[in-house]
Amino acid sequence: MIGIILVTHGNFGAELLRTAEMIVGAQDGVETIAMQNGSSLVDIADEIESVISKYEDSGAIVFTDMFGGSPSNIAMAYLGSRNVEVVSGINLPLLIKAFSVRKENKSLRMMCSECAESGRESIIVAGELLKDRS
């Protein structure tokens, strides 16, 4: 199964996983890596490296919280090698989508674009919704 790796600022990733599991149940093949104040880039890179190598055969998606942030910058260094794709801007619907899509045996890239699409679609300004109906 395609591995899911959450690399985030602080404990956001671990909490997001806990929350997603509250909704869709316990998940296998998920790793979380937290970047704290004072964390060294080298240590985080080592952690990502070792986690990625666990999923060398199946492939892995690294989800990060914010494009341009350190978690995403480090993760992107692994692009193009070893069956890895990086998706930034993780949110709860996106993660839940990832859990369901990875059961469908799609290509890594296809799976990522579906997740990204679902993440984008999940952002709704409620007021605009009401305006459209009236």
Partner: protein, 164 residues
Amino acid sequence: MKKIIFRVDDRLIHGQVIEGWIKYYKIHHVSVVSDRVAGDALQKMIFESSLPPGCELEIESLDDFIDSFTKEEHGKEFFLVLLESVNDLYKCMELIDSDIYVNIGCVASREHKVEVSNTVFLDLSEIEMVSIIRNKVDVYIHKVPWEPSVEIRNFSRLLRGGLS
């Protein structure tokens, strides 16, 4: 705020730099000074694509930066220079004058380092270098613009007491 900002940040461009410094001061010119990144096409691409639109980024080696900085005009707009280490900042000593705001943002924790703030960890030689720079200009620990900066005063004490 002075228009030219020299910042030591071992992560160079990241969340605090983008959401903090660049957006807060509406900075349009950023220089990343790093021999490592200047020689790494993928890293350059990542940094270039992570800045907000309209923000110009130059990525250059330390020598090239030192060479070009004095020749260029630095006018009305904010100009952010990101350096990877205290050591690189020290090598820019000749460029630094009272028109430049010098701050240390993030230097990750490693073995035998002293915690100067929750994001800045320095070893003895780095503290000595900062002390020398401080004879010329003030050096601040400053993570993000909206948090208070801390002027580094206790360094002499750290040096006197050793770092054991």
